[in-house]
């Protein structure tokens, strides 16, 4: 294969990786405290919709991202409130919030824009080559001639790894997901930790959503996430709930994505529908093989109620 083509492919993979990283890291952060969110798809859609509108009205992509973060934070707050304060089942709460996000994203968009013949557009985010580094042959083109989201996602992976595994705050946060009762008995504030992780996590997930209209399409469309929210959950499991392995997983998911799109162009007669199922089938296969090394936080998905009597 052509060398230029490979570099181009690799560059696209790093771009396509971004939503997976954000959504995966968000899922992971909440999961490290034992909160299992399944509303990713809904949060991402809302982030995409509201974030797009924010950018559209102000002509400022940064404002768009900020609105998406706020919207995501509200979802996280709701999730934490329902599960941590009110002790509602996490899975069901997540589903309900998924539904809310699914409907809210379209509703707000329709109410705000109305019915138009041409879709409203914002200019998509430009590349931001990093001086000097982008001059490095091959690596520079792939890694350092990207837009700011890509850099941010890389930085974030590293920062979260440091925070979770190299500080006492990370140790405390992880202890909540491993055994909240033990954490509580040592004076660690379980509720506060879970609120923090849910809100932070949902913000990241929402950022994954707003990336799509602001970088890919320039507009919001119904179902723009195409199941990436669900794939992010699979990715997080497969990535063993750790930032560095999630990063690797995200690269893989992105590669499949890009490959499926590219293959349509060079398809050679294979119906494009079959190529488009590749990310999902690849995920199913990954789950089969990944189940060997999956390492889930012990209390994932379980609420903690201090005064609940057991034994």
């Amino acid at each position: 294969m052509d060398f230029e083509l490979i570099i181009g492919f690799a560059g696209l993979v790093f771009l396509a990786m971004v939503p997976y990283i954000f959504a995966g890291l968000g899922t992971m952060l909440a999961g490290q405290t034992g909160l299992f969110i399944v509303a990713q798809e809904g949060i991402m859609l809302t982030g995409a919709s509201i974030g797009f509108l924010g950018a559209y009205w102000t002509d400022n992509l940064f404002v768009g991202v900020l609105t998406a973060i706020v919207a995501g934070g509200l979802f996280g707050l709701a999730f934490a409130f329902f599960t941590t304060t009110l002790n509602m089942n996490q899975f069901v709460t997540g589903l309900a919030l998924f539904f809310v996000g699914l409907a809210l994203s379209t509703l707000i968009f329709k109410l705000a824009i109305g019915v138009t013949l041409t879709p409203p557009l914002v200019p998509t985010l430009d590349k931001l080559p990093i001086p000097l580094l982008s001059q490095i042959p091959v690596v520079g083109d792939i890694l350092f001639n990207q837009n700011i989201f890509v850099y941010l996602s890389l930085l974030l992976s590293g920062a979260l790894y440091y925070f979770l595994y190299r500080t006492s705050y990370g140790l405390e946060l992880r202890s909540i997901g491993e055994n909240p009762k033990a954490a509580d008995s040592l004076g660690i504030n379980v509720k506060r930790g879970r609120y923090f992780a849910a809100i932070g996590g949902a913000m990241l997930i929402s950022m994954a959503g707003v990336f799509l209209p602001l970088v890919y399409t320039g507009t919001f469309t119904e179902g723009i996430t195409q199941g990436r929210g669900w794939l992010a959950i699979a990715l997080t499991f497969f990535g063993g709930w750790r930032p560095h392995t999630i990063f690797i997983g995200a690269l893989f998911f992105a590669a499949v994505d890009v490959f499926a799109l590219r293959a349509q162009v060079f398809g050679g007669g294979i119906p494009h529908q079959f190529l488009l199922t590749m990310p999902y089938i690849a995920t199913l296969l990954i789950m089969v093989f990944g189940s060997r090394w999956v390492r889930v936080p012990t209390f994932l998905g379980q609420n903690y109620d201090r005064e609940k009597r057991s034994v």
Partner: protein, 514 residues
């Protein structure tokens, strides 16, 4: 010579829904003493200590430390006041190292990265001083129970406690390990600490405590110096009028001794050269045992030494090699439901995980495993009226406290769940009973009730495999006791030659010498 009072709990009350768990309880702890908190299960000992530790909020009463009233709203407050607690079920994080478990929640050096070196030194130092050696870098899940307990104690010592609460600390220990623990406790009180020792075992209290408080039904009964007290005084205080001590099996077993030797001729269960599990997961190695009608075979061992695997192997829940004969037929290749149909009842140790349906109702819990058998089913359709009637009978007979058979079982308290497990096992006549820690979580009258039930069925010819971590229970009921360690049979004792330390040696892996 009166000592300083370190800690006082005054007029503490606590209720859970309609259940009064603590009713106006008082407790005072002196500096440098081991204070025993004695009572049957459900007496309120653990609830009282959870209030002290800030895990529960009391409805009334106050806590004074060094004379000053303190408010404890969370474990953090308790820790800051110098109160530490070792829970019966260790609150540990299996995937973390010993050091990480101990330092969790304390102030640590974070920049440029988390540094635990000074913490490790301190842990080693504390371990040496109090006779509690641990490897600071070991992962918790790799450690045996005895060591994990040391970690729990070190956790409290690391935080510089004045008052250390130990909740049923001897549950998973061999008699020898218990002695070592008691020595460490002595070192601690000589160092000026105070220890509150929660237990339902009278003998331990008499052995190690300076003063003793007895609770019953969530109320104070008495507080006494050890020297002033006789064993009888405590027994009466613990059981009160709930039990006629004179005719009780637990406290006067002469009646029992006359009948316990009546064993039938028929072989009910014969296990030969049984290995349970495969490869690394072997839980039981070539175990052989025979059980006759009307016989009770006790199995002793520290928790996790193959007891569960033995039972689950017999029940067809784990892959086995060797043979399991029930009344002459080999059942080792049968499915669990076929084995259970063979007139076998099972009371699992871990009732939460292995026996209980929290979201189903009480009646549905009572028929689990019997749901395809008469009279509860004709094989296809449930006999709903029979199930309800029979459930109401069992609820009454076994004194299960619930609003009704159709109430959600998840609302039951731990002791009542155990009663459901037992009611299920005794609801239909069986030839073989496999019963694992049957009285854990039960108060003394209920224990008495369970023992009577077992003995009653024994008289009718039921064979019982009684697995228990409570040696008193095994010594009381068994015709023979075999000891398991690491999945291997260490030896067997006959009734009449039971000896706590002999069993303890075998529990820690020393084979019985002929």
């Amino acid at each position: 010579m009166p000592k300083d009072i370190v800690l006082e709990m005054q007029n503490v009350s606590k209720r859970f829904g309609s259940v009064i768990a603590l009713d106006d309880v008082n407790l005072s702890i002196q500096k440098g003493e081991v204070h025993g908190l004695l009572g049957g299960n459900g007496a309120g000992k653990t609830t009282l200590m959870n209030v002290l530790y800030g895990l529960y909020q009391s409805d009334a009463g106050q806590v004074r430390l060094g004379g000053e009233p303190i408010s404890v709203h969370s474990p953090k407050d308790a820790i800051n006041s110098g109160i530490g607690m070792v829970h019966q079920r260790f609150l540990q994080i299996n995937r973390f190292t010993v050091t990480e478990n101990i330092v969790l929640g304390t102030d640590l050096q974070n920049w440029p990265r988390l540094n635990l070196d000074t913490a490790k030194e301190k842990i080693n130092e504390l371990g040496e001083r109090f006779g509690l050696p641990v490897d600071p870098d070991a992962i918790l899940s790799d450690l045996p129970m005895g060591v994990r307990q040391r970690v729990e104690i070190l956790k409290a010592l690391y935080r510089g406690v004045q008052v250390l609460v130990l909740d049923e600390p001897t549950t998973n220990l061999t008699p020898q390990e218990v002695d070592a623990l008691f020595e460490s406790l002595r070192v601690m009180v000589d160092d000026g600490l105070s220890v509150i020792f929660i237990t339902h075992k009278l003998r331990e209290v008499l052995e190690v405590c300076d003063r003793i408080t007895v609770l019953r039904h969530g109320k104070n009964v008495l507080t006494m110096e050890r020297e002033d007290a006789s064993e009888e005084a405590f027994v009466t205080a613990m059981v009160g009028s709930d039990l006629d001590v004179e005719s009780s099996i637990i406290f006067s077993s002469e009646q029992l001794e006359k009948t316990i030797g009546d064993v039938g001729q028929d072989t009910i269960l014969e296990v030969a050269d049984l290995t349970v599990g495969e490869g690394e997961l072997v839980g039981v190695k070539s175990c052989s045992l025979t059980l006759h009608a009307g016989e009770i075979l006790g199995v002793a061992g520290v928790s996790g030494n193959g007891q569960l695997e033995l039972i689950e192997g017999i029940l067809g829940l784990r892959p086995v090699h060797g043979s399991v004969l029930m009344q002459g037929t080999d059942v080792s290749t049968l499915e669990t439901h076929e084995i259970l149909k063979n007139s076998v009842a099972y009371v699992p140790e871990d009732r939460w995980q292995d026996g209980f349906l929290p979201t189903a109702n009480v009646a549905q819990n009572l028929i689990l495993g019997l749901h395809r058998q008469a009279p509860y089913s004709d094989g296809r359709l449930l006999q709903r009226h029979t199930i309800l009637d029979r459930s109401n009978q069992l609820i009454e007979e076994f004194n299960i406290k619930t609003p009704g058979a159709q109430d959600t079982a998840g609302n039951l308290s731990g002791g009542n769940i155990q009663r459901v497990m037992l009611a299920r096992a005794f609801s239909l006549p069986v030839d073989l009973l496999l019963i694992h820690n049957p009285t854990r979580g039960l108060d003394i009258p209920s224990m008495e009730f369970v023992y009577k039930k077992i003995l009653e069925r024994k008289q009718e010819g039921m064979a019982t495999l009684l697995i228990s971590e409570n040696l008193d229970e095994l010594f009381l009921l068994s015709n023979r006791i075999m000891v398991l360690c690491n999945g291997e049979q260490m030896g067997e004792l006959q009734r009449g030659s039971y000896d706590k330390y002999a069993v303890g040696r075998m529990m820690s892996g020393v084979r019985q010498s002929e």
